[in-house]
């Protein structure tokens, strides 16, 4: 159907995934729960530091489109970071570890982690 909602006949034979709707396989990582929470994400975050920083930057750009003064991100950086300490273990320490390794401010790591809650409205 070439008008919205672009409904189509049920697809057949798309597996194994290939073609234009397939963008790639998802890589595997091991997370060792025996390690301290602060360091267990280190390898993954080291590998994905650039991608994580890019996503956070896009979110900041969107926020700055709505609040050009930059105040919103200032509030996120200042107000959300202390909230990390109110999270239960091991989440609080894990977020700190992610911020340490990625270089992304802790408040912005926290924002990324509560995205789903925020957008349920």
């Amino acid at each position: 159907q070439f008008v919205p909602p672009y409904t189509e006949d049920c697809r057949r034979g798309t597996y194994p995934p290939s073609g234009p709707t397939f963008k790639g396989i998802v890589p595997w990582y091991k997370i060792n729960l025996d390690l301290a929470p602060r360091v267990r994400w280190n390898q993954l975050i080291n590998d994905k530091k650039v991608e994580l920083t890019s996503l956070i930057q896009v979110i900041k750009n969107l926020a700055n489109d709505f609040f050009p003064s930059g105040k919103l991100i200032e509030i996120v950086d200042k107000s959300l970071a202390p909230l990390v300490d109110t999270l239960p273990s091991p989440f609080n320490e894990e977020l700190k570890g992610i911020a340490d390794v990625s270089g992304v401010p802790l408040g912005e790591v926290m924002l990324f982690n509560i995205f789903y809650e925020v957008f349920t409205v």
């Binding site: 409904t7 396989i25 998802v26 994905k48 992610i98 990625s102 982690n113 509560i114 409205v121």
Partner: protein
Amino acid sequence: CTSLVAEDNAGRLYHARNLDFGLFLGWDVKNESWKIPEYLRPLTVNLNFQRNNKTVFKSTNFAGYVGMLTGMRPGTFTLTMNERFSIDGGYIGIIEWILGKRDGIWMSFLTRSVLENATSYAQAKDQLAKTKMLAPAYYILGGNQSGEGCVITRSRTAALDIWELDIKHGIWYVLETNYDRWKDPLFLDNRRIPAMKCMNQTTQANISVETIYDVLSTKPVLNKLTTYTTLMEISEGTFESYLRDCPNPCMPW
């Protein structure tokens, strides 16, 4: 999002999902796509959480995100979470949290806690239904025995509905998008009917990882917000994830 649990004629349980996220968060005019899914795809990873060198659970996740939206405790249960929009949404829970009322749990943290600690389908279901949360959600849970599959519709404080597989009465799959099952979906965002139509056409006799991927590849079940598709089958321990794209013409949500 679209999540489903289905049982084939042999009693094998399949659980799959499309993760859709990023609506209204910036449109990339050049690529004709939403910005957030574009940036989430390179962050998508499969995680094998281990203790004593043994797998505790597996999940598809975003690097930097410590909660869980999709996961499997091998041999025990499978779990996905879909967003549930509500006026009494997560922002109220967040405000309460900031103000010091902290008796609820963040919903993706609950998913992770259940994957990490629950040792049976029944225990997982109980925790997902009864734990107080900061935001409403749909939890889609599959077990390892015939008939073990359900959609738990959650408000912040209670389970509003638990919709279960009922093979004897012909309910061989349960399927959830982002709307309460007793209400019609928004007419602009009806992925439920196309997905159910494809499941019904497939039939219980032919349901498999392959045919479920077909269902989740059919527009508008697949749409511009779809970041990844995950396919799980509990008895064999199958856990596969694929990054997705929806070239034009394609629904923006």
